[in-house]
């Protein structure tokens, strides 16, 4: 059976250039990058600086304003906590569709002096820049809004948002996890103060990420005990991971707009195929302002996880926004919650469990799209036949007729 992977927002297929670069590094005799006194240490530090330049180039940022972390969750924590540690109190504006590594900080007792205020999104998941303008007050110390949402694919009007923040003198943090390597990002002169980056969504290894910090901005590290990464991220660096991240960025940046256009057209093909092939679906996110190759929808009568299991049996791997599948390791069912992203875009709560998203990366091809379009109607019919909710709907429809 062929394996068709369409869950790149969770982790993209590892890029060949990342594997190659990491393998070469692992075979090299290097020491601890902090051991500047000997050649082995210096060699390791050189690997990191090469990667730093590669990552910085992808977002057109100066390399000395970028640090490496263990991933986007840590970067989001460092951006918010590290910045707020330099303030005594105030308001933080965050969009209601941010990742939990942003949203859950509002409950952190160490941040009790800060009020986290939500920015609403419309039914397509877009932030209205005027709303932001109105909500920024003299109390606002920080704004955090992602570039793109991994669950519904919507891309925010980030330039306008950055302009508003810059004009108001409020630092602006953006989580670029889902967008990096798929849409062009230019930090220079953008007004963006901090940007979270992830390696695994662009085909780098898992367990590594980055944080861009505009030079005048001061943060306090959230870990103590070392001077690595400009003093902001103590602890010996994950050098192999960093090397892979750098190589993936170099690969992703090559012909980015051309590749991204091809991906967008594959995504549109999948969207149209699903739209004409199956009934009772509603597509989520903005129809145009969205990640290339990202298709998301919910089905009125089918639960997302059962759809994913059936797709997986046919070799197709996608993601669900459903609470059920995303929190399997919780302590009990109270840990299951409907996706906050779907409730934010007004999907009725009873349908939030039926959400599916396909996110393509550069390794996906036309045949794979055709295969998914072909198998989907059969799976949906089978699950409809299993669904008491669908049975009730059919009966009601028959009675009306």
């Amino acid at each position: 059976m062929q394996m068709i992977y369409m869950d790149r927002v969770a982790a993209a297929a590892l890029r060949p250039e990342a594997i190659e670069a990491m393998t070469a590094f692992l075979h090299d005799k290097v020491g601890n990058p902090s051991a500047h006194i000997h050649s082995a240490g210096i060699a390791a530090a050189d690997y990191i600086e090469t990667a730093r330049k590669q990552v910085a180039d992808l977002i057109d940022a100066p390399a000395d304003e970028l640090i490496f972390t263990s991933g986007a969750t840590e970067s989001n924590n460092l951006a918010i906590k590290g910045f707020l540690a330099t303030k005594t109190g105030g308001e933080v504006l965050v969009s209601e569709v941010e990742h939990y590594s942003i949203l859950d900080q509002s409950r952190n007792p160490f941040l009790a002096n800060f009020k986290f205020l939500p920015l609403d999104v419309d039914r397509h998941g877009i932030i209205d820049p005027d709303q932001l303008k109105k909500k920024i007050t003299s109390e606002t110390v920080l704004v955090s809004i992602q570039i793109a949402n991994p669950e519904i694919g919507t891309i925010q009007p980030i330039e306008k948002i950055a302009e508003i923040c810059l004009a108001s003198g409020v630092p602006f943090h953006t989580d670029a996890t889902a967008a990096l390597g798929y849409v062009p990002i230019v930090i220079r002169d953008s007004g963006i103060s901090m940007m979270t980056l992830s390696s695994q969504t662009i085909g780098g290894p898992m367990g590594v990420g980055g944080l861009y910090i505009d030079k005048p901005l001061r943060l306090r590290p959230i870990f103590d005990g070392g001077n690595q990464e400009m003093g902001l991220r103590p602890g010996t660096e994950n050098v192999a991971g960093i090397v892979g991240f750098g190589a993936a960025c170099r690969g992703a940046g090559h012909d980015l707009s051309e590749k991204s256009a091809r991906l967008a057209s594959l995504g549109k093909k999948l969207w149209r195929g699903l739209e004409s092939g199956i009934e009772h679906v509603e597509f989520t996110g903005h129809p145009e302002q969205r990640l290339p190759g990202h298709v998301s929808f919910w089905h009125r009568f089918i639960e997302g996880e059962s759809l994913l299991l059936h797709l997986n049996m046919k070799g197709v791997m996608a993601a669900s926004g459903s609470a059920c599948s995303s929190n399997l390791k919780g302590a009990d069912e109270r840990d299951l919650r409907a996706s906050h992203v779907l409730t934010a875009v007004d999907v009725p709560e009873e349908y939030c469990s039926g959400s599916i998203s396909f996110s393509l990366d550069y390794s996906n091809n036309e045949h794979e799209i055709e295969y998914v379009i072909k198998i989907m109607p059969e799976i949906v019919r089978r699950l409809e036949a299993m669904s008491p909710v669908y049975e009730d709907y059919v009966k009601q429809r028959e009675n009306r007729e």
């Binding site: 996880e305 009990d332 069912e333 709560e349 009873e350 036949a385 299993m386 669904s387």
Partner: protein, 116 residues
């Protein structure tokens, strides 16, 4: 995933309905009862993999059982038959037990209605 006993039943002796879509799961259990024996059981479920597995396992456990023995089937028995469920999914097996109880209540009611 290949659930057994999934689908409709013609003229079931009893039907048990539990859950609602807002909770994320709906289970419908159909029983065919002859004398005091459950001769057939079928289900329909709107829910995650664990909910479908729990309902399917319940129907397997029920077939050929006496009503009195079926009453002894707990959510734990369903979960055990599935080789255990993660803590967040225990409610799926609870739902299966509730569907069974609801079907047996329906059967009692139908029996009484037929007697009077």
């Amino acid at each position: 995933m290949n659930p057994r006993n999934m689908g409709d039943m013609e003229n079931p002796s009893a039907v048990g309905n539990v859950g609602n879509p807002t909770c994320g799961d709906v289970m419908r259990l159909y029983l065919k009862i002859e004398g005091d024996i459950i001769v057939d059981a079928k289900f329909k479920t709107f829910g995650c993999g664990a909910a479908i597995a729990s309902s399917s396992m319940l129907t397997e456990l029920l077939k050929g059982k006496k009503i009195a023995d079926a009453l002894q089937i707990s959510n734990q028995a369903v979960a055990d038959a599935l080789d255990g469920l993660p803590p967040v999914k225990i409610h799926c097996s609870v739902m299966a037990e509730e569907a069974l109880k609801a079907a047996l209540v329906d059967w009692e009611a139908k029996k009484k209605a037929a007697e009077t």
